[in-house]
Symmetry: C3
Subunit: 348 residues, 3 copies
């Protein structure tokens, strides 16, 4: 159950209301009047909490005191009889919507902290929130309902769209950020990219000027301590509704497609593109100047060094189609086993 120290329920809401919000069906319509105030995982479900389960095992673990349970039509019979039951095509999605209704992100209380430092030439919507320690540069524009967290730095000229929420200790420079974007703590956006060039006649590297921007489109979500460099010339772009996890590295002039999903510690080299709805596993890498298509799946720790067609599924370093990757692992395993046996090893 969410700790009331950190989360306040807006409930209780009736099961009828929740069912409608989650596009779910009440198995016994008579339960529609029951009130639900909170949510929980199945096994921990405190008295009266809403839970969900998508397997027999999960449903069997359900606490008898659970207030209600969402599952699929096929599994409805597995829910213990005393517990009100909702059926949904996608119980997890239904649960997410109902939980969001019970515990909505609190809207920011509009206020500019007197411990914030706001340049007189910044343009703040009267309904935005600027917290203590935030620094807002000249000519910054901040939209209605936007929220800039404590000790966050917004550089000159940056634009922040409506309802975008920026957490604490973030840095944003040289960037245009859309509406309903979520930027988690410690994110770095818009710093100069890694551009250097050698002069054969002198030791060392010269910096290539980094004169582009970052554009973050609406509804993108950027994980903690992730870094997105600005373009050298032109823009680095994070597409609409893209989700980047923590500690992701996005180099200059990268274009991440709409609704792409980059798992933790993924890295993308300069000028590469990632198509819409493409997903990477954790610690995956994409070399620079690579074009990855839409709806690709890139395995954890894969290293993509070549362009990928739409829908490609790859793994390994260098990345190869997943079927080939699995065959390689099998072949290598067999050869090693044979060698182990030849050497009289116990094998393992």
């Amino acid at each position: 159950m969410p700790d009331p120290r950190f989360f306040s329920s807006r409930g209780p809401l009736s099961l009828a209301v929740l069912a409608e919000l989650g596009d779910a069906r009440l198995v016994r319509p008579d339960d529609g009047g029951r009130l639900i105030a909170t949510v929980a995982r199945g096994a921990d479900a405190a008295a009266g909490a809403l839970s969900y389960g998508v397997s027999r095992t999960e449903l069997r673990r359900l606490a008898p005191s659970a207030g209600a349970c969402i599952t699929t039509d096929a599994l409805v019979a597995e829910v213990p009889p005393g517990i009100p039951c909702l059926a949904a095509v996608n119980p997890r999605l239904a649960f997410a919507r109902m939980a969001n209704a019970l515990y909505p992100d609190p809207p920011p209380a509009p206020a500019v902290s007197d411990r914030a430092t706001v340049d007189p030439a910044a343009v703040l919507h009267p309904e935005c929130r600027i917290e203590a320690g935030a620094v807002i540069g000249a000519r910054v524009e901040i939209g209605a309902g936007a929220w800039v967290g404590c000790n966050t730095t917004i550089g000159p000229g940056v634009v922040i769209g409506a309802r975008t929420r920026i957490d604490a200790n973030v840095t944003v420079v040289c960037a245009l950020v859309g509406a309903d974007v979520r930027i988690h703590a410690g994110v770095r956006i818009g710093q100069a990219g890694f551009g250097l060039v050698m002069d054969g006649s002198a030791p060392g590297h010269e910096r290539v000027p980094q004169l582009g921007r970052v554009r973050i489109e609406d509804r993108a979500d950027i994980g903690a301590n992730t870094c997105i460099d600005r373009g050298a010339l032109g823009d680095t772009v994070i597409g609409e509704g893209a989700f980047l996890d923590n500690l992701v590295h996005v180099a200059h002039n990268v274009h991440v497609g709409s609704h792409a999903v980059l798992a933790g510690q993924t890295g993308i080299g300069g000028s590469s593109t990632v198509g819409a709805f493409t997903a990477t596993g954790g610690q995956a890498g994409i070399s620079d100047h690579v074009a990855v298509g839409a709806r690709c799946e890139i395995g954890a720790q894969a290293g993509v060094t070549r362009d990928l067609d739409d829908g490609a599924r790859v793994a390994g370093t260098p990345a190869v189609p997943i079927a080939r990757y699995l065959r390689q692992a099998v072949v290598l395993g067999r050869l090693a086993t044979r060698r182990g046996q030849a050497a009289g090893d116990a094998g393992s």
Copy 2:
């Protein structure tokens, strides 16, 4: 020798006192009255500094002006004759304890900076230290001797235990932090995890509400810029005395066991568990929903995709037992060499 700009010796201490602190034996008891004020690496040992060596090579490099040297019983005879000598079962541990006695972490001078922003509903122990630029939210509780560094943000309701030290530019929200914990600069604790779900009928992903917490148990140590997401429901837990290095990624609902050691840039996927005393090498990855046992050793850059029994030692992606990993490398190397020779390569 530690630079006095940054470190102040509390010495000098006599060798007799130091020997007792480090559970070491003075080879010549007459040396017990000698005074030691500082520490150094063997070769750099400035006049009078305490050093240690665990190999003949290290002892041979010892500066003749060294004030004293810790080694093992077996190596005592290798220490140059003029240098007072201590023998210990674990010289490095003995050195660590003596060095900690000479250069203890300075206790925080209790003070709340007038440049900090403290919510009136926060509860600060009178003997804590809150530095300039720190922001302390409503209902935060901070224990005796705890230390919150400059420009650090502590969100509403967070609890910080006694003597816990949080460095500069850190963010902590939705978390309960134990006693004697060390949180290095730039750490992010308690932000919303990477929870998203697709609705087949609409483009894009919906956010799954992240309504859990982070619990950091006593004596844990969290490296710079590491990120620990809160649970979706329930807790993400860092066990007692666990050590996380820099830039580690810990996803929602992960449980890291007590005294586990996660090297730099390790990543752990959602809902996975890591047993007590398990250690990872740098850049290792553990997939989501994986149960890793206790006292496992996971090689650098390994990718663990399946559950591991207690004491497992694995390497590679996907991770396999280390013996098998080494055999695979040998087999592959031989095949490549054969091919290289067939092709008339120089081989390499």
Copy 3:
């Protein structure tokens, strides 16, 4: 074209002046009086912007309104006739210099923000810039023209050289930073390294005191959210003109040679050395206590576990010479293909 919200041109400058700055040759000397105010990528070149191209394809895409174009002597004939043309040995370097002349990093306006917190015992050059929210500790020394960004924390005793620029939300402790260094947002320098030792007789690990420093030499460039730990005893060193990309992990007592280039998310284990001009690809790892020579090339995601001679070129985990790595990939691919065919797979 650089967005004037974020970048101000110091131009226009004549092509004659730009040619001299970039060590380029004006193909038609009569063009020397033409004025250039801005820069752009070839295809986007707004009217009058300077661009460059190093291939026929790039030159063919050049906007007809481009103000001038830099290319090689060999490609001069490929530049569309109406566009003034400069020839250079290294067009990218020439472009970088000209762009730097048109858009120089603005010098910091000397000022100490009254929202900064400066210890009375800090020594600030009158021509340095300290921004809002910055905290400067006791006995810190900051040189002429140095710039400390918003919400950055500089710990006691730290020295910052002339013209060094530190961006926002950075932490620097226990460090000596040279002149003309660039430290991007969110960098962590000088925190205690990952030093721990076990006591067989008690559970858990003890911290080894970390009593060293970080030295950053002149003209080094440190990417966003990168972490550089101080030495345990002695220094961690980043050599002159070294470039570290974002999210790099440098452990205690590492020495990074001058002009080394570490790509994003590279990690270097404790006490390892990296020679001058050595370059790593993204997500590469170097184990602890490894000596990597000068002018080595380490592939993306490689894992270096052994010493490397000067000029070595390696890839893979464990890293092997690149020729061998490629042969291994070919051999493995063939074996897998054979297996796929034997199994009647479609192959892929």
